[in-house]
């Protein structure tokens, strides 16, 4: 690929794939090679960066802020946001901090950076400056380097996180963490299956083992950093259980590298009960599997994400999903919510529209007043269902790896035991097909080769059949395609006037 930096092999093929922590000396060599891949890498020095992190006040450190949010039962807000130039990014982050009252301020990288096409990213910066508008869908963090990051961090009064949907995170993570970001989103399984076409699961896992190991290295220098897993996957009708399977596996991989502050992200199903059940099941299952592996000290806050599928173009209609997104996160007991804007269906939001989405969400959180659904029969039913699905598949994955999470995962994807809906990746079977049922919950229409227990699948099927019957459509894969569009439809189709 033109502009791709791949001259040096950053993974010396010395060690076979495993979930073991990367040994210190090997990691040092890997880091040296990695940092040599682009000029700005030279500026990175973990000792110096750790010292810098120690100068940051607690309210600008995401690990501390998240621990406090969990202790106080708060739900924090966080948008996405990135523009091509430092000036635009500075203004954006300040607007999100001040007008949006974001509790966590993001820096989304552009898609060239995500694919390590730094030459193209550079052209994007230049074009953006020439035309006076952002031609990139994010901030080219590697091109700008460590000191630009520190300038961005200096401009806000909140902790900052790097959002860089990629299976090639090694330079953005190095520069982001050294630049004063206290959180980094991404994981080997989740991002490889949803953001790449040719990258192998093994490669993705190895790349994120590097990032996790890097966070652990900072920990060794006395600096706690936040790592986070994007369990929203392809954002497209993801059943909670499939998201949580990836959460558990990526989490175990991170824990093995030494990470102790690891967030899990779940895209909303847009169902009050199912989303609350998902958040609770995720939290409990993560700790359950950590305990099985002997970890009792890993902090695992759960983040809920505003609807990740296709949005309606009508801004009034979209506003409902924004407010509801705050409600779902708060009622579900998520520690933070990642927000969208009324521009979602069309394009990257202006800083103002982004800030409005944050405020609508924040107000929705305020009026949720800590309501919880525990004890509601339908909620307990969903929690149980999700747990049965996750345990069946994850246990099978672990078996396939003879206890090694990395090996098991690679084999499980090859066998279709792990599968992801609507994946662009050629290594993922993507035979599993979910759809929304008659009660509004996301169910599995076709499990492909995933070992979901038969009695569980009968529940899914029954609920989907009811929908097909109610709408007089065949019970087939069209249900899955319809579900992809569904919420982007105009209200005249979603909820037509009543014929009395």
């Amino acid at each position: 690929m033109p502009g791709t930096v791949a001259s040096l092999d950053p993974n010396p093929p010395t060690l076979p794939l495993s979930d073991a922590a990367i040994p210190g000396d090997l990691f040092a060599r890997m880091r040296r090679d990695n940092l040599a891949r682009w000029p700005t890498g030279a500026r990175v020095d973990v000792e110096e960066a750790a010292a810098f992190h120690k100068t940051l006040p607690a309210h600008k450190r995401l690990p501390a802020v998240l621990r406090r949010a969990v202790a106080e039962g708060r739900c924090l807000t966080q948008p996405r946001g990135g523009f091509a130039t430092l000036a635009m990014q500075t203004e954006l982050m300040r607007t999100l901090d001040r007008d949006g009252m974001a509790d966590i301020v993001p820096t989304t990288t552009d898609s060239y950076t995500r694919n390590e096409q730094f030459v193209q990213a550079q052209r994007g910066v230049e074009e953006s400056e020439r035309l006076g508008r952002s031609m990139l869908n994010g901030f080219p963090l590697v091109n700008y380097g460590v000191d630009a990051c520190r300038a961005l961090i200096a401009g806000i009064e909140k902790p900052a996180i790097v959002l860089s949907g990629t299976a090639m995170p090694k330079l953005t993570a190095e520069i982001g963490y050294a630049g004063g970001y206290t959180g980094y989103l991404g994981s080997g399984i989740a991002y490889t299956v949803s953001y790449t076409k040719e990258t192998t699961i093994e490669e993705g896992i190895r790349n994120y083992q590097y990032v996790d190991r890097l966070a652990a290295l900072y920990q060794e220098h006395g600096v706690e950093l936040h790592r986070r897993q994007p369990g929203f996957l392809t954002g497209t009708i993801i059943p909670p259980s499939i998201a949580i399977m990836t959460c558990v596996l990526d989490l175990l991989l991170a824990a093995r590298q030494g990470v102790r502050h690891y967030g899990l992200e779940l895209g909303q199903c847009l169902h009050l009960v199912q989303d609350a059940a998902a958040i609770r099941a995720c939290r409990e299952l993560c700790q359950e599997y950590l305990a099985r592996f002997g970890y009792t000290d890993v902090f695992t806050p759960v983040t809920s994400l505003h609807w990740m599928g296709a949005w309606p173009a009508d801004e009034a209609q979209a506003a409902a999903l924004i407010g509801y997104g705050g409600t779902l996160a708060a009622v579900g007991g998520a520690s933070s919510v990642t927000t969208k804007s009324t521009h979602e269906a069309i394009g990257i939001p202006t800083p103002q529209a982004n800030a409005e989405g944050l405020r609508t969400t924040r107000m929705a959180i305020h009026v949720s007043y800590g309501v919880r659904l525990d004890g509601l029969p339908a909620h307990e039913f969903e929690v149980d269902l999700i747990k049965r699905e996750v345990r069946a598949v994850v246990d099978r994955v672990l078996e396939m790896g003879d206890g090694d999470v990395a090996v098991g995962t690679v084999r499980a994807f090859a066998a279709g035991v792990m599968d992801i809906p609507w994946s662009p990746n050629r290594q993922v079977k993507s035979r599993v097909l979910p759809a929304r049922d008659a009660d509004g919950c996301i169910r599995i229409l076709d499990a492909g080769d995933m070992p979901i227990p038969r009695d569980v699948m009968e529940i899914h099927e029954e609920k989907l059949r009811r929908r097909a019957e109610r709408e007089r459509v065949p019970f087939d894969h069209q249900l899955a395609v319809g579900s992809v569009y569904e919420l982007s439809e105009p209200l005249s189709r979603l909820m037509p006037a009543m014929v009395a």
């Binding site: 690929m1 074009e127 076409k197 040719e198 521009h343 394009g347 662009p424």
Partner: protein, 145 residues
């Protein structure tokens, strides 16, 4: 079967495969032979595939906002490769941010696309317009290589 061959794919570093896949499925159901290149497809691959399969049209998807950079010179590539008159569509969320559609459309037709489609275009509409454009061209159906 229409006897026509189409190339589809998502251009550049763009992973948004869902709409492209649904479009591909709909085009196949409408009787087209579709060569589907999937996500993250460089511009030159589209052209290569079109030549190899003697395609009648290329349908480029771009959702992630950087399409304006990725699509520059697409028609020129086709011309250089000797398929300068191939029908070229582009669709998706073509630019960064909410911009007035007529301006965006013009930018892409100026690049040489026969048509550009705004965010959220439904497959039925694409199939209708495609049939009309092929009808208007009234070209003989090419045979695959």
């Amino acid at each position: 079967m229409t006897g026509r061959t189409l190339v589809t794919g998502v251009i550049g570093s763009d992973t948004h495969i869902v709409g492209n896949r649904i479009l591909t499925m709909a085009l196949e159901a409408a009787g087209y032979r579709v060569v589907s290149l999937g996500a993250l497809t460089p511009a030159e691959e589209f052209v290569r595939a079109a030549i190899e399969t003697a395609a009648d049209a290329i349908l480029v998807s771009s959702l992630y906002g950087q399409g304006e950079l990725d699509c520059r010179g697409f028609r020129d590539r086709c011309v250089e490769a000797g398929i300068g008159d191939i029908l070229l569509y582009v669709g998706g969320n073509l630019v960064v941010g909410k911009q007035p559609w007529p301006e965006v459309e013009k930018r892409f037709t100026d690049m040489g696309f026969d048509r550009a489609f705004p965010p959220g275009t439904r497959t039925d509409e694409v199939i209708d317009i495609l049939a009309r454009d092929f009808g208007a061209r009234a070209e003989p159906v090419r045979s695959a290589s």
